[in-house]
Structure formats: structure tokens, C-alpha cells
């Protein structure tokens, strides 16, 4: 086992711990934000944004998505599109029901 090899994993370990700390901070911020006296829309947006950052840290670094292979990206890009389609279109359909408009 070469030194460079084990060195790179040491660095990686350090990175993971940093990410762990970042996720902890994110969680703390979210909980804090939930008690802040803001308009509920703003509060929810803030909380979800932090959640997205946390999710990005986990998916990107812990799951190594930032340096994955093209085939994985292709699969995930389509998945994300359909995910957005599912969520977006159902909610849109819900909002577009005529008798609910202007209520």
C-alpha cells in the first residue's frame, strides 16, 4: 500500500469529518430558523434551503456524486426531471382547479 494512497484517504477522512460538522451546523440552523419569528413562507423557504444544502453535501461528497461517471449522471438527471414533473404537475393541477381559484 503506497503512502500516497493512504495519504489521499486520510485527506478524504478529514473531508468527511468536515462535512459532518457542516451538516450539524445546518441542522442547528434549521432548528433555529424554525423558532424565528418570520413570515411562515420565508421561514419554510429558509429551512428548506438549508435542507437542500445539507442534502447536497451528503449526496455530493459522501456519495461521491460530484465525481461520478456519466452513466450515473444520465440516470439521475432523468430521475430528477421526472421527480420535478411528478411534484410540479400534481401541485399545479391542484392549484388550477377552477372552483378553488380566488378562494
Amino acid at each position: 500500500m503506497s503512502d500516497a494512497h493512504s495519504e489521499s484517504y486520510k485527506n478524504y477522512t478529514r473531508k468527511c469529518l468536515l462535512i459532518f460538522l457542516a451538516v450539524l451546523c445546518g441542522t442547528g440552523l434549521m432548528v433555529g430558523a424554525s423558532f424565528a419569528s418570520l413570515a411562515s413562507g420565508v421561514r419554510i423557504a429558509m429551512i428548506l434551503t438549508i435542507a437542500c444544502v445539507n442534502a447536497f453535501l451528503v449526496a455530493g461528497h459522501l456519495m461521491h456524486l460530484i465525481s461520478e461517471r456519466k452513466m450515473v449522471y444520465i440516470v439521475l438527471v432523468f430521475t430528477v426531471i421526472f421527480f420535478i414533473g411528478l411534484m410540479g404537475l400534481t401541485i399545479w393541477a391542484h392549484a388550477d382547479v377552477p372552483h378553488l381559484k380566488g378562494v
Partner: protein, 606 residues
């Protein structure tokens, strides 16, 4: 293209521990994709027959409401008791049979045949692999399917019988029917969905990872492409229905009201539920699967038809690339058209416009595919054998089915047509004389590969002509009935409705009602036409005409370039692929076909 050469698993050191694995290991708990494919085929064909018999009994009830079902009436009475007193099908039993007919046909018969049987058996061989990427998961996938099937089937015999709310299982109805059938249905679906997820991930991985050297993406046979797209549809569209299934299970079992609205009244009384839920939510999640599902039903059938047509016209498929890209487009767009099944849910005009537009867009790739296949016939020297007859008949039948979909895709015309027999006619044209003809073509075509013998040609033709004629006798009148306003899912075939409205606008005329008898006899004829097929299927295993060599149809794709039936690991030596899938009648060759694994002929030096 990479050029790794793998030593194929044929060295004796490996085969030592594979000797004589015993009956259970080789046939029941096999991890060989070919055996699993055959297991799927047998189970699914049995379900196909069962699903058909349910419908045959229902057609009797529709044509002769309240009269004892002939032949099987006494059996029904013994099996189901009160709901089939004196062999007469009650409305409850009718609803049960209807719901289970749809469920069985879609989830237990046709899709498992297409992907579980044909996909499992053929995809690994067509890409030149020795098995699926995950053989054990493959076995598990069949086992989940089998258990799901058992759950569905056994639900017929529980008190209260099987599910009664259609294959679509719309709440609130599905939740307020007081019997347990729906719980079984949901449980069964969870198993079937899990099975299908395992299967589709497996097929996709196999195609991505196990292609033989030289098998580039654009050298894949169209059948494999179709399986690839269909597997993606299953992989990504089924999970939301699984989510919805779990939610409905929660409602049914724990009494939550995720799908039950506030103020729901059952039998004139406000129901004892928390309310606040949404039945429309179920419809969204259901159709998010079920629309892509219809393309799962059709794409692999198109794949089979393309293979059969290329082989029997002795000429390359016209527009192979267009076919591939059209299927990809079809797959993509099929995820965003689902709400065309929901125009009548009080949907707003903006969103309805969106879904009408995407629905019209999706018919473009469908038409491209059909056109490619039609043009492929042009100028070919067509061999008319049974597989080809089925493949040829598939084209116009699928055409009728597709074209009748267009009026349904516009909300203005769908307001009238929704929930009528017109819809039933539409989708049965795509699925029955469409997909099922594709399946028959495939069975007649690949049977020699499995057994080393042809199926009998004469009885094949009897089967074909009987099926073609009676399919149309059954389904064509439904368009007329639907246009006249006959609703689907009525256990008396609309007779009460018509009697109550005699002379009024909208009452069904005697002619329209008379068509119910025509359809009944069509269904009987259709059933009888399957007898030669069933006998042929078994008889030919031992007595069919022997094939002259391993490639009796002179085909190009890899499954025909190995022995019959294929060796356990498919190929004795890993095939190397040199060319596309449909090199028929290449000018300057001594044979009229060039197998994919045949190297270029050495050009004679001047």
C-alpha cells in the same frame, strides 16, 4: 469502443461444481435467466387464460343479465356461494371479476410476459452476455411476482371476495367497500411492484454493463432497446404507485383518511373518518404509473414485431435509428401525459391544455415507429409464416388503437367519451390485437430456439385467422356502443339504464344493446380460437417439425448464433460483434443475411 476480451465461463474448472444441480436447483430455484424466463412465461400464460375466462363470464352476464352462466354456473355457485346464487352473476361478483380481470391482465399476464418472460430470456442473449447482471435478484424477482400472484388469486376465496373497485382502485369507493379484497389487492401490488423494480434494474444493468465486445449501443437489436426503455419506465414510474399503495393500505388498515375527503357520506351517513384527504391525489399517483405502463405494454411488443418483420422481409428495418430515438422520446414524454385520464376531475383549463398538448406530442413518436415498421415492408420478399402473420396484423390493429386514442386526448371530446365503451375499445385495440398479437408472434418465432422444433404451421394459421376475426368482432362494436353513450363497468350491460329512459334522448337503442350479443359470441369464438394454440404449444414440444439447424429462420441477432436450446451460459465462447442487427440481403454476400458476430469477409486481393 473498448475491446476487452473476457474469457467466457466455459473452462472446465468452473463447470465442475455445476454438475447435475438437481431438479429443484435447475427448475424451481434456478438462477439461469432462461429458466426464469420460462417460469415467467408459464405463470403469466396461465394468468392470461384465467383473466380471459373471467371476462368471458362477464360478457355472458352483460348480454344476458340475471341468467345463470352456462357451463360454469354451478361451479361459480359452489365456489362463491351467495354472490353467485344459482350460477347467476351478482353485481358484486361482476365487479370483482372486472377489477381482477384488469389487474390480472395488466400486472400478472401481459407485462410479466413481455418483460419477465421475453425480456429475461432474450435480452442477455441478444447482448451477448452469459446471464443477467444479478442472477440471484432475478430469481427473487420471479419469486416476488409469484407471491404477488398467489395473494391476488387467493383473494377470490376470502370472505367477501377479491377487490371490486376496478384495476384503477379509485378511492373513496375502494376504501368504503367493506370487504378485505382491497387489502389483498394492495398487498399483492406491493409484491408485484417490488418484483418489477428488481427485474427492471436488472435488465438495465445487463444492457449497460454486459454487452459483448463490439456490441455498441446502435448495434443493439430494437427488441433490446424496447426492453431498455420499458425497464426505465417501470423503474421510475412504479414507485409513486407503490407509495400510493402504501398510503391506501394505511387508510384501509389504520383508518387514516389520506384519500378520504371531508364530509364524505357513505350510505347516506357521514363517514366516521378524519377527512381532509384527496381522492384526486390517488388518481395522480396511479396514472403517473399507469400511463407509462401502457407504453410498457406496447414497446416490447413493438420490439418483437420489429424483429419478426426484419427477419421475414429479409431486409433491414427501415429507419432503425428513428425507431430507437422515437422510443426514447416516447419513454420520456410518457411521464408527463398522465392527467389525460383525469379531465373529468374538475381540472382547470390551463393544466388541461398542458396535458392535451403533451398527449398530442406523444402520438408523434408512436406514429414514427408505426411508419418505420410499415415502410420496412416495402419491397421486401415477405415470408408469410405464422409469426409474420401476427406481426403484420399487429400493425393495423395497433394503428386503430392509437388513432382512437386521439379523440380521447382532447378534453372536449373526452367529456363525452370518458368512461364509455369507447375507451374500452381504444385500449383493447392497443393491448389485445396489438400487444397480445405481438406476444403470439414472439412465441411462434422464438419457440424453435427453446425447443428445437417449430410449432405447427397449419394450426398456427387457424389460430391466427380465428383470433384476428374474433378480436375485431369483440372490440369493434365497442366503439359504436361507447359513442352512443354506453358506460363501462355496468353489471347489466346498460339494460336498466336504457329501459328507464326509453324514448328519451340518450337512451341506448336496441341495436346498440343487441351488439352485446355479438360481442358475447365474438368472445366465445375468440376463446375457441385459442384451443389450437394451446394444443399446438404442448404438442409441438415433442412432435413439431425439427429445425434443420440452430438458425432456422436465417436470422442475424445473437440468440440465433448459439446452440438450441442455448448452453447454460448462452455462448461457448464470448461472441464478438462486428455489425448492426439487421444486415439482411447485403449486396455482394453469398447468403442473404450476415449474423452480428460474423467478421467481415476477407476481401479478395486483386
Amino acid at each position: 469502443m473498448h475491446a476487452t476480451t473476457q474469457t467466457m465461463p466455459h473452462d472446465p474448472a468452473h463447470s465442475a461444481h455445476h454438475e447435475a444441480p438437481g431438479f429443484w436447483r435447475s427448475y424451481i430455484f434456478s438462477i439461469d435467466h432462461k429458466i426464469i424466463g420460462i417460469q415467467y412465461a408459464i405463470t403469466a400464460l396461465a394468468f392470461l387464460l384465467f383473466g380471459f375466462s373471467l371476462m368471458a363470464m362477464m360478457r355472458w352476464q352483460i348480454a344476458h343479465p340475471g341468467q345463470s352462466v352456462p357451463v360454469v354456473g354451478p361451479l361459480l355457485a359452489t365456489l362463491f356461494g351467495d354472490v353467485a346464487a344459482k350460477g347467476v352473476m351478482s353485481a358484486d361478483l361482476y365487479n370483482t371479476f372486472g377489477a381482477m380481470h384488469g389487474t390480472i391482465m395488466v400486472f400478472l399476464a401481459v407485462v410479466p410476459l413481455l418483460t419477465g418472460a421475453f425480456g429475461n430470456y432474450l435480452v442477455p442473449i441478444q447482448v451477448g452476455a452469459c446471464d443477467m447482471a444479478f442472477p440471484r435478484l432475478n430469481m427473487l424477482s420471479y419469486q416476488f411476482y409469484f407471491v404477488g400472484g398467489i395473494i391476488m388469486f387467493s383473494s377470490f376465496f376470502i370472505p367477501g371476495g377479491a377487490a371490486q373497485s376496478g384495476w384503477t382502485s379509485y378511492p373513496p369507493l375502494s376504501l368504503i367497500v367493506p370487504t378485505d379484497g382491497q387489502t389483498y389487492w394492495l398487498l399483492g401490488m406491493v409484491f408485484l411492484i417490488t418484483s418489477s423494480l428488481l427485474g427492471s434494474a436488472n435488465i438495465i444493468t445487463t444492457i449497460i454493463q454486459l454487452r459483448a465486445p463490439g456490441m455498441t449501443w446502435l448495434r443493439l437489436p430494437f427488441f433490446t432497446w424496447a426492453q431498455f426503455v420499458a425497464s426505465f419506465l417501470l423503474l421510475l414510474a412504479f414507485p409513486p404507485l407503490e407509495a400510493a399503495g402504501v398510503m391506501q393500505l394505511m387508510d384501509k388498515v389504520t383508518g387514516s383518511s389520506l384519500f378520504l375527503p371531508t364530509g364524505l357520506a357513505v350510505g347516506g351517513k357521514v363517514a366516521e373518518v378524519a377527512g381532509g384527504g384527496s381522492p384526486v391525489l390517488w388518481q395522480h399517483l396511479f396514472w403517473f404509473l399507469a400511463h407509462p405502463e401502457v407504453y410498457v405494454l406496447i414497446l416490447p411488443a413493438l420490439g418483437i414485431v420489429a424483429e419478426v418483420i426484419a427477419n421475414n422481409t429479409r431486409k433491414p428495418i427501415w429507419g432503425y435509428k428513428s425507431l430507437v430515438f422515437a422510443s426514447l422520446a416516447l419513454g420520456f414524454v410518457s411521464f408527463i401525459v398522465w392527467a389525460h385520464h383525469m379531465y373529468l376531475t374538475g381540472m382547470g383549463t390551463t393544466i388541461a391544455t398542458f396535458f392535451q398538448t403533451t398527449t398530442m406530442i406523444i402520438s408523434i413518436p408512436s406514429v414514427i415507429i408505426l411508419t418505420c415498421l410499415l415502410i420496412s415492408l416495402w419491397g421486401g420478399s415477405i415470408r408469410f409464416n405464422t409469426p409474420m402473420l401476427f406481426a403484420l396484423a399487429f400493425l393495423p390493429m395497433f394503428g386503430i388503437g392509437g388513432l382512437t386514442g386521439l379523440p380521447l386526448g382532447f378534453s372536449a371530446s373526452d367529456l363525452h367519451l370518458h368512461d364509455t365503451y369507447y375507451v374500452i375499445g381504444h385500449f383493447h385495440y392497443v393491448v389485445a390485437p396489438g400487444t397480445i398479437f405481438g406476444l403470439f408472434a414472439g412465441i411462434y418465432f422464438w419457440y424453435p430456439k427453446l425447443t428445437g422444433r417449430f410449432m405447427n404451421e397449419f394450426w398456427g394459421r387457424v389460430h391466427f385467422w380465428g383470433s384476428l376475426i374474433f378480436m375485431n368482432v369483440v372490440f369493434m362494436p365497442m366503439f359504436a356502443q361507447g359513442l352512443a353513450g354506453m358506460l363501462r363497468r355496468m353489471s347489466d350491460g346498460g339494460i336498466n339504464y336504457s329501459k328507464a329512459q326509453v324514448g328519451l334522448e340518450g337512451a341506448l337503442s336496441p341495436t346498440i344493446m343487441e351488439l352485446n350479443h355479438v360481442i358475447l359470441w365474438g368472445a366465445v369464438g375468440l376463446g375457441l380460437s385459442q384451443i389450437p394454440f394451446i394444443l399446438n404449444l404442448f404438442w409441438s414440444i415433442k412432435h413439431g417439425e425439427k429445425i434443420p439447424n440452430d438458425n432456422p429462420w436465417d436470422a442475424t441477432t445473437l440468440e440465433w448464433q448459439t446452440e438450441t436450446p442455448p448452453y447454460v451460459y448462452n455462448f461457448r465462447r464470448e461472441p464478438i460483434v462486428y455489425r448492426g442487427p439487421y444486415e439482411y440481403s447485403v449486396p455482394g454476400c453469398d447468403k442473404d443475411f450476415l449474423p452480428q458476430n460474423q467478421p467481415d469477409q476477407p476481401t479478395s486481393k486483386p
